[in-house]
Symmetry: C2
Subunit: 500 residues, 2 copies
C-alpha cells in the first residue's frame, strides 16, 4: 500500500475494521496512557493544558482536514493521541482539586473501553444482555447499601445527574398530576409548584422549565445556618400550599448541595413530606456514595424514605462519566415515567421482557453500557474500595480545613461535611479591600492558578461574594499538595496586589 495509489472504498473499510490495526494502535494507546498516568502521579506535568478556545478550535479543524489515505496509520494515530493528551485536562494530577468530577479509577476506563469497542448498548435486553444484567445487579446492590428493602424498590441508570433528576421529577409530576402525561400541564386549573432549597443544583429549576411547570413555579425553601434546607420553613410552606390547594409536584432535597457540600436533614424532611403527603425526592448525586462508608453514612440517614433519589457513580464512586442512578422506593413507580406507551421495539412475542428492557424506564432509547466501569472495579476490588475512597478524600478535606483554620491569612467559610471546602484568602489589611474586592481578588488568583497549570481549583459565589472552592476528588492528593496550594495562592495574590 503506497500513498500514490488511491484506496478503494472496500480497502478503506477493511483498514478501519482490521483487528490487527486495533491491536497495534491499542497497544500504543495503553502504553502511552500508562506513561501519562505515571507522569501525573509524579507531578511531572501541568494540571491543565490551558489554551484559549480559538487556537484549540483551529487545531481541531486542522486534524479533521485530511484525505485519510496516510499509509502510516500508527504514526498518524500517535500524533492524534499526543494532541488530545497535550490539549486536554490532566484530571489525574493530584493537584486537580476542582469540580465534583473525580480522578477516576483508571481501570474502570478499561471496562468502559470493552463496552465502547464492542459497542454494547441497551434499550431492549437482547441488544445488551450483559450490559443490562450488570446494570440491574448494581441497582439492586447499591440500593441495598443505601438502605432500600430488596424486592420492593427499582431503579435505572442514565447519562448524568441532571438527566437523573429530570427523570425522577418527571415521574413525580406524573404521579402528582395524574393527567399531565397524556393531557399536558395546561389541562389542570391550578398551576403546580416544585419545592426545593435555595442552594439546589441549577438542574432542579431547569427541570421545572423542561417539564412545563415553569421556573417561576419553583419555591425555594430558606436555608438554616449551615446552608441546609430549614425543615420548619418547609413545613410552613407545605402547609400553606395545601391550604391553598396548590398542586405540589415534589419536594427536592439535596445531599449534598453543591456550594459548600451541605447535607439536608433527610429524616426531618421525610417526616414533613409524609405528613403533607408530598413526593419526596433527593438529589444525592454527590453524596449517595457515603452509603459505603461506616464513618460517613449518617450524612444521608433517611434517604431510603424518599420516593425517589439519584446518586452519581461518576462522582464519588470514582468511575468515569457518565453513570447516574435513579432509585424509586416503590418499584412500580418506574412505569409512571412514561405511563407505558409501548414502542415498536418491544416484542409482543416476549412480553415479560418489558420488566428488564431499559428503554421502558429511561429517557434514552439506545443507551451505552454505562455501568461497565463500575461493574469492573466493584468486581475487581470489592465494595470496600468505595469506602476507602470516601474516607480518604473526606479526611484530606478535613486536614485542609484545619490548615485553613491555622493560617492567619485564610478563612474557611464552613466546617466541611464531606470533600468540599469553600474558603477565602484574606489579603494584608494594608491593602484595605472591601469584601467584594476580596472576592474579586480570590477569583483572579483562581484564574491565575488554573491558567498556569499549577493547580486546578474552582471559584464560587457565596451570598454574592466570590470565594475559592476545592473538592478533593483524587485519593492521591496529599498534605504536601495542600501546603503548596496555600503557598501558591498566597504568592499569586500578593503578586496581583503589587501589580495593580
Amino acid at each position: 500500500m503506497t500513498s500514490e495509489t488511491p484506496l478503494t472504498s472496500r480497502q478503506r473499510i477493511r483498514r478501519a475494521y482490521s483487528p490487527q490495526t486495533l491491536e497495534t494502535l491499542g497497544e500504543h494507546l495503553i502504553e502511552r496512557l500508562g506513561e501519562h498516568l505515571s507522569q501525573l502521579q509524579r507531578r511531572d506535568e501541568v494540571v491543565l493544558n490551558w489554551k484559549l478556545p480559538e487556537p484549540n478550535l483551529s487545531l481541531a479543524h486542522e486534524t479533521l482536514s485530511t484525505a485519510g489515505d496516510d499509509p502510516e496509520l500508527l504514526s498518524r494515530f500517535r500524533g492524534l493521541i499526543e494532541i488530545a493528551i497535550r490539549h486536554g485536562h490532566n484530571l489525574h494530577h493530584p493537584r486537580y482539586i476542582g469540580h465534583q468530577v473525580p480522578a477516576s479509577i483508571p481501570l474502570a476506563g478499561l471496562f468502559d473501553a470493552l463496552g465502547s469497542i464492542t459497542n454494547q448498548v441497551m434499550a431492549v435486553y437482547e441488544m445488551g444482555p450483559w450490559a443490562t444484567s450488570v446494570e440491574r445487579a448494581l441497582i439492586e446492590r447499591w440500593g441495598a447499601v443505601l438502605g432500600l428493602t430488596p424486592g420492593t424498590f427499582s431503579g435505572l441508570v442514565t447519562h448524568g445527574g441532571s438527566l437523573a433528576n429530570l427523570t425522577a421529577l418527571l415521574t413525580a409530576r406524573n404521579v402528582s398530576l395524574k393527567e399531565s402525561w397524556s393531557q399536558g400541564i395546561g389541562h389542570s386549573n391550578r398551576l403546580p409548584v416544585l419545592v426545593t432549597q435555595a442552594d439546589a443544583h441549577y438542574c432542579v429549576t431547569r427541570s421545572a422549565g423542561i417539564l412545563g411547570i415553569g421556573t417561576e413555579q419553583v419555591i425555594k425553601v430558606p436555608l438554616d445556618g449551615r446552608r441546609r434546607m430549614d425543615p420548619n420553613a418547609l413545613d410552613d410552606i407545605l402547609a400553606r400550599l395545601r391550604k391553598e390547594g396548590t398542586p405540589i409536584v415534589a419536594v427536592s432535597a439535596s445531599a449534598c448541595a453543591t456550594p459548600i457540600g451541605a447535607f439536608d436533614p433527610l429524616n426531618e424532611i421525610a417526616d414533613i413530606c409524609e405528613r403533607h403527603d408530598v413526593w419526596m425526592h433527593v438529589d444525592a448525586a454527590h453524596g449517595g456514595a457515603v452509603s459505603f462508608s461506616e464513618k460517613h453514612r449518617h450524612l444521608i440517614d433517611g434517604i431510603a424514605r424518599a420516593d425517589s433519589f439519584i446518586c452519581d457513580a461518576h462522582k464519588t464512586l470514582f468511575v468515569p462519566a457518565l453513570c447516574a442512578f435513579v432509585f424509586y422506593k416503590d418499584k412500580q413507580h418506574r412505569f409512571e415515567t412514561f405511563q407505558q406507551d409501548a414502542p415498536y421495539l418491544f416484542d409482543p412475542s416476549a412480553p415479560g421482557m418489558a420488566n428488564i428492557d431499559s428503554g421502558m424506564v429511561t429517557i434514552e432509547c439506545t443507551k451505552r453500557a454505562a455501568t461497565y466501569g463500575l461493574w469492573g472495579v466493584w468486581s475487581l476490588f470489592g465494595q470496600q474500595i468505595f469506602s476507602d475512597l470516601i474516607d480518604e478524600t473526606f479526611a484530606t478535606t478535613r486536614l485542609f480545613y484545619e490548615k485553613l483554620c491555622e493560617a492567619e491569612d485564610f478563612e474557611p467559610l464552613h466546617e466541611p461535611e464531606c470533600n468540599i471546602q469553600v474558603f477565602r484568602y484574606l489579603p494584608p489589611s494594608k491593602y484595605d479591600l472591601s469584601e467584594q474586592e476580596v472576592g474579586e481578588l480570590n477569583r483572579k488568583v483562581r484564574r491565575h492558578l488554573m491558567e498556569s497549570g499549577e493547580f486546578y481549583i474552582v471559584q464560587t459565589n457565596l451570598d454574592g461574594v466570590g470565594a475559592l472552592r476545592v473538592c478533593v476528588m483524587n485519593p492521591l492528593t496529599n498534605e504536601a499538595d495542600l501546603d503548596q496550594l496555600l503557598s501558591s495562592i498566597r504568592t499569586s495574590a500578593l503578586q496581583l496586589l503589587e501589580s495593580e
Copy 2:
C-alpha cells in the same frame, strides 16, 4: 503481597490507581479484543450469546460478591473480561443485521477509551478544552456538509437521539410559547399541539409528554403510499390549527422514520412550515449521515431549511454509542433552550466563555467527551470513510431487496431507500395461514434465529401485522450472509410449521 495479609485502605487505593496495572491489564484487554474481532469477522462465533435474564443476573451478582483482595489481579481481570464477552452481544458479527446500532469502527472505541480513562468531561470549557474543541469543530464540519451556512448556525452534542429530539423540541416550545419556560405550560389559555407523522419514533410523542404538552396533544399527519408524511395533509392540518388559533410547538418530520426507513419530503414540508410560520424540526437520527454520500444525499434535500434537526453519529457514522448532534439553523436559538439561567459554575471573571461552555446548551451538566470517537476516525481516515460506509451498506440492502424479489417464498414490503428492509417469509399455501398467522410465524422465526445465535435480525409491526426487518449496519455483511439468511429463515419456518 499475599492474600493472607489484609490490605490497608491506602494499599487498596494504590493498587487501583497503579499505572503499571493499567498497562498490564490494558494490554490483555486489547489483545483479547483483537482476537475477538477476528473471530467474529471469520464468523467463528454466534451472533448473540442468548441467555434469559435470570442466569445472567445471577452471574452478575456473583461477580460483584468479592472481598476484592485477590492478589492475582490480572487473572481476575481476564476472567471478568471473558464473562462480559461471552455473555454480551457480538454486534461486530457480519450476521448481526438488526437494530439501527452499528458494528462500530473499532478504532473509534480506542479514542473513546482515551476520553474515558483520562475522564475528559465538559460543561465548562476549562474542564474539557480539547473535548469541547473537537465537539465544536465537528458541529461546524458536519453542519457544513449538511448544507448549513458557516457562521450562521450552531449545534450541540448529547447522549442519544431521544435526548437530542427532546432538546430541540424544548427549544421549539420555548420559541413558540414564549412564557412556557418561566411560567409553565399551564399559563396559556389554549392548549398547544405538536405535529408529527404516524411513523415517527416514539420519543417524539414522549417529548410531548415530558415537555408538559401532553401525549394526546400530538397530531399525527397521515402517511402517503410510501409511508412518508403526506404534505397535502400537513398543509390542511396547519391551516385548520392556525384558523382555530391553536398554538403549534413544531412540525417534526422524519429522515428517515424507523419502520421501513422512509424519508419525508423535506423541501415540501419546509415550504408549508414557512407558509404557516411554524417551527420545522427533523429527526434525522438515522438519515443525517447520507449528507456524506454523493449518491444518497438527495434523500435529505431541504434539511438545512429546518429550524432544528438531529443526526446520530452513533448510528450511520458508525461510531460507538452515544453521540447525537442537534443543529439549529439560527445560531441564537441555542440560548432559548434554557433561556439562560446562569448557573454557579459559569465564571463571571470570563463571561465570554459562555459561548463555548457546553453546559449552557445541553440538558447534561457534566458531559463525557462523546465525540472523541468520531473525531478520531474522521482524523485518521478523512470524511470519505463515512461516504464509503453509507454507500456499501445501502448497496448491500439493495442487493437483499433484489434477492427478496427473486425468491418466491419471500415478499419485500417496500423498495429500500436506505439500509432498512422490511419483509415477510410466505409459507407454502398448503398451510393456509391467515395474514395475522403469517405475521406470527415470522415473529417466531425471528426469535428462533436470535436465540440460536445464527443471525440477529429484528421484528416489527406494519399496519398491525408482524414482519421481519433488517438494517445493514456492518459493511462486512456480504452476499453469502444474505443468501444464508434467506435459507435459515426458510428452514426455521418450515420446521416451526411442521412441529405445530
